[in-house]
């Protein structure tokens, strides 16, 4: 099955995988392919390479999708029948926007946005980028301006943060923690007032009075937006589990990303979230070779023609490339078995860095090629 068939009827495609496997480029290429086929697609990326961002006109972007001029791709030989929109996520702006919308009144909004704890720490906390990414996805989905949304997940070593984000947030807001801080007789009141409990006395002693009163104000003002947050987190969770949503896992053939892909697939299964397919990126083109060359025979066969030193150089180069081809073949076999994925989509390692429009179009070609053509493309990449 090609990517196009896998994504048919889907309105949200979440691209997951560990850092450094080419997730952003794959997301953009995926969105490009869908747009080329006639759909109105938005790709939400987290941290695109500068040149890719420039090529797509994303450098002046705020937090809103922007249409990429079709001429950009026409010049690279690809006709885009639909529309490709791209945006770069601004985590802080998304969080601020959320507070602005959910705050019941201007005073609460200003209190939160002006709180030192909020402004200093809302970006530093683990998972805040993951949360804002899906919050933005949820908004765009609800606005309904696009046929498909493609989300490039944050460069987190543990892609799980992403799946857990709505749950964690809901747990936080529903948890007794916040309730405790928010009740009139609770923690905040005790701190701001004259708490006499032993625990509060020790805590004040450890944290210092400034910190604890800032925190109290932070928790108290957050209380005003709890209902909105809870509703949203529930909506996000429903969206991620929706049949029209799918998760695509991207990996490279290296050991750690492969293990993470297997782990992530298991977590998707546990969470009952839909798995749409596997992309193995930067595969050595030699993996498709049915009869690999024998490096030793090369020396014998080519020494007469090229001279022994050069023939040996060819032999060593081929041997090194074969180590990688073998590694990649083993990784592909393992992924096939572990993910129960018969037809992973292989994208070969390209000689040039892929971060411009031409590279994007090339990746798109591999992703969207029908199964029969993919083998030919790989063989071509291997010098056939």
């Amino acid at each position: 099955m090609s990517v196009a068939e896998r994504l048919e009827g889907k309105s949200v495609c979440v691209v997951a995988g560990s850092g450094g496997v080419g997730k952003t480029t794959s997301s953009a290429a995926l969105a490009l392919g869908l747009a080329a086929a006639g759909q109105r697609v938005a790709v939400i990326t987290i941290d695109p390479a500068k040149r890719l961002a420039n090529a797509l006109g994303m450098q002046e972007l705020g937090n809103e999708p922007r249409l990429v001029a079709p001429a950009v791709f026409a010049a690279a030989g690809l006709e885009v029948k639909g529309e490709l929109w791209a945006m770069m996520l601004d985590a802080k702006a998304t969080f601020d926007g959320l507070i602005e919308r959910l705050a019941p009144d201007a005073a609460t909004r200003d209190e939160i946005l002006g709180n030192r704890i909020y402004s200093e720490l809302s970006g530093a906390v683990a998972g805040s980028q993951e949360f804002t990414a899906i919050a933005r996805l949820y908004d765009l989905h609800r606005e309904g301006d696009f046929d498909v949304l493609v989300l490039d997940t944050p460069p987190s070593r543990n892609a799980l943060d992403f799946l857990d984000a709505p749950d964690r947030l809901t747990a936080f807001f529903q948890g007794r923690a916040l309730k405790l801080f928010l009740t009139p007789t609770g923690f905040a009141a005790k701190v701001v007032g004259r708490g006499t409990g032993v625990v509060f006395a020790i805590m004040k002693r450890v944290t210092g009075v400034d910190l604890i009163s800032d925190l109290s104000v932070f928790f108290r003002s957050l209380g005003g937006v709890v209902d909105g947050f809870e509703e949203r987190a529930a909506g996000v969770k429903a969206l991620l589990a929706d049949p029209a949503t799918t998760f695509l896992i991207v990996t490279s053939p290296q050991k750690e990303p492969v293990e993470e892909a297997i782990f992530f697939r298991g977590k998707l299964r546990e969470a009952g979230m839909p798995f749409g397919g596997l992309v193995i990126n930067r595969v050595d083109p030699g993996v498709g070779e049915p009869e690999p060359l024998d490096p030793q025979a090369i020396v014998e066969e080519l020494s007469g023609l090229l001279g022994e030193p050069l023939a040996k150089k060819v032999s060593r180069t081929v041997a090194d490339a074969q180590v990688l081809a073998e590694r990649d073949a083993a990784a592909i076999a393992r992924l096939r078995a572990e993910l129960d994925e018969r037809e992973p989509i292989l994208v070969p390692l390209m000689d040039a860095d892929v971060h411009d429009v031409a590279g994007l179009v090339a990746v798109q070609r591999h992703l969207f090629a029908p199964a029969a053509d993919r083998e030919r493309l790989l063989a071509e990449a291997n010098g056939a």
């Binding site: 704890i117 923690a177 002693r205 590694r327 056939a384």
Partner: protein, 320 residues
């Protein structure tokens, strides 16, 4: 490498060495390799993983199923002579810190057992982060929180990917500012002073020789300067291909035409193109980065074993 050459390296003589960089560039390999080299040179070394990454065990294992794995519970595990490894557990670190702050153990227990405190620690933003950074710092102090625990000469920290890692360390300054006074403020201030002091801590960024990773490394250097108010000490360009092919070699290969099998020509051509691209990105990094740039070779192997990691670490230590 000898112990003498290490003591002459100002970078490797510092108490904390932070290894940072984008995901997938070989940070953990570099951190583990450096740890092995430092231990081999006679320093009590601990390699420290943060954020439950669970990558160290595989690199240190002599063979699969090695019992000396690194549990994620904050335990310090001895791996070799003078070499330890640990994975920071924020909850455990918080308990340890409190016990060291409060005058009596029972007071600390009262606090950590109380529900109010547990909720507070779970809900307050940045608590896990500041506790993690503080624990990393503590490992290198002469006076440990646990009075019986011997200090390490050097702590090598495998940080999370670029932005996350710097954000984590930045919380020390943030808490020192936000708390203003009290034990947290002074503790965070001491951690901040160490993290920002180039004579006590070192920052090593790991990069790959590609356009995107080089650009991101230059951005990382600027980020370290603005967020942590200190320079990056060194940039390690990892997995650099050998320059095996000359233009004349390739010409002769092309001239031989179909006598040379297609995949062999492809391998030679591809290696040459990639090597050239790598060299030009390496040159750009050397031109634009302030920090010293050193390189490590590409190792053509399916996965790196302990011996290979140690060899890379020794090579790197000799270059820093």
């Amino acid at each position: 490498m000898s112990a003498a050459s290490l003591t002459t390296s100002p970078l490797l003589s510092r108490e904390l060495i932070f290894v940072t960089g984008k995901g997938g560039v070989g940070k953990t390999t570099v951190a583990a390799g450096l740890g092995m080299a430092l231990a081999a040179a006679g320093r009590r070394t601990i390699v420290c993983e943060v954020g439950a990454q669970r990558r160290l065990p595989a690199l240190f294992a002599r063979e699969s199923g090695d019992p000396r794995s690194v549990p994620a519970n904050g335990e310090e595990v001895a791996l070799d002579e003078r070499l330890w490894a640990t994975s920071i557990d924020p909850n455990r670190s918080l308990r340890e810190w409190l016990a060291a702050q409060l005058p009596s153990k029972s007071l600390a227990e009262l606090l950590t057992r109380s529900q109010v405190f547990q909720y507070f620690a779970a809900a307050a933003p940045g608590v896990r982060e500041i506790v993690t950074v503080t624990k990393v710092w503590e490992l290198a102090q002469a006076n440990r929180w646990d009075k019986k625990a011997p200090p390490y000469d050097v702590v090598v920290v495998d940080l999370p990917a670029s932005g996350h890692g710097i954000g984590l360390l930045r919380t020390a300054r943030t808490f020192a500012d936000v708390a203003r006074v009290g034990p947290i403020a002074s503790q965070a201030g001491r951690v901040r002073d160490t993290v920002e002091d180039p004579s006590r801590s070192a920052f090593v960024a790991v990069a790959l020789p590609g356009e995107l990773p080089v650009t991101e490394t230059l951005e990382l250097e600027a980020l370290v300067a603005s967020e942590l108010r200190r320079p990056l000490d060194a940039i390690v360009v990892n997995a650099l291909l050998k320059r095996r092919w000359t233009a004349a070699d390739l010409d002769r290969l092309e001239a031989a035409g179909a006598a040379v099998p297609g995949p062999a020509r492809r391998a030679a051509r591809s290696e040459t193109v990639r090597t050239q691209a790598q060299q030009s990105q390496l040159a750009r990094l050397r031109r634009e980065a302030v920090a010293a740039v050193v390189t490590l070779p590409f190792v053509p192997a399916p996965t790196l074993g302990r011996e290979q990691v140690a060899a890379l670490g020794a090579e790197l230590a000799g270059k820093l």
